[in-house]
């Protein structure tokens, strides 16, 4: 599945956001990273998923 092909850092942020429903601030605090990093990792994750799922969405 496409999500399993993501890098660990991107996948962890995506799962915490999408499936655990955490806010950016909560993810940043939990992982000890800046909020900007949460957003850029989410962007990278979604961009990869979009590339992989192109034509299926």
């Amino acid at each position: 599945m496409a999500i399993e092909n993501l890098g660990i850092r991107e996948r962890e942020v995506l799962i915490l956001k999408e499936f655990q429903g955490l806010k950016y601030r909560e993810i940043a605090e939990l992982l000890g990273i800046p909020m900007g990093t949460v957003m850029s990792r989410l962007y990278a994750a979604r961009r990869s998923l979009a590339d992989e799922l192109d034509g299926k969405l």
């Binding site: 999500i3 800046p34 979009a50």
Partner: protein, 153 residues
């Protein structure tokens, strides 16, 4: 007009916040303006929004308890190590500074040490302090102006 460089980076972060409904009113207006002015960005926004809809409708197959436990342990370990590094660094700075200060004080007080050695050591210390202050000042300046300061690569 196409958004490029630092503007593109900000636009991508705004798109994420927009998709996840975490934008303030001002940021929402900024994002709307960007999307209206850049067709490429608009197309990417729609593409990413489709991904959000798709992942939003998915269910996570809940892994066994021990997998979650293992994952949380790695998170806590990372935090633990950060705290450990900070404490060890502060301790090392204090101990080394105290040692250097004591050694220099004793050497200055020692009448058998030639004056030019004392002058050399003083020059070394003053030079090191100036370099340290200069580097700290530069770091602080870069931190204030660096658009990527909130991003860990």
């Amino acid at each position: 007009m196409n958004v490029t460089g630092d503007g593109l980076d900000r636009a991508r972060r705004l798109m994420m916040s927009g998709i996840d409904d975490e934008l303030s009113a001002v940021e929402r207006r900024e994002l709307d303006d960007l999307l209206a002015s850049d067709p490429t960005l608009r197309a990417e926004w729609e593409r990413l929004f489709r991904v959000k809809r798709a992942t939003g409708s998915m269910k996570l197959r809940n892994p066994p308890e021990e997998v979650w436990e293992g994952y949380m342990n790695t998170v806590y370990r990372r935090l633990e190590r950060s705290i450990g590094w900070i404490l060890a660094s502060v301790g090392a700075i204090v101990v080394v500074s105290y040692g250097v200060w004591t050694a220099i004080s004793e050497m200055i007080a020692d009448a058998t040490v030639p004056w030019y050695i004392k002058a050399g050591v003083l020059a070394l210390v003053v030079g090191a302090v100036i370099l340290f202050v200069s580097v700290v000042r530069e770091k602080l300046f870069v931190r204030k102006t660096d658009p990527y300061k909130d991003v860990v690569r």
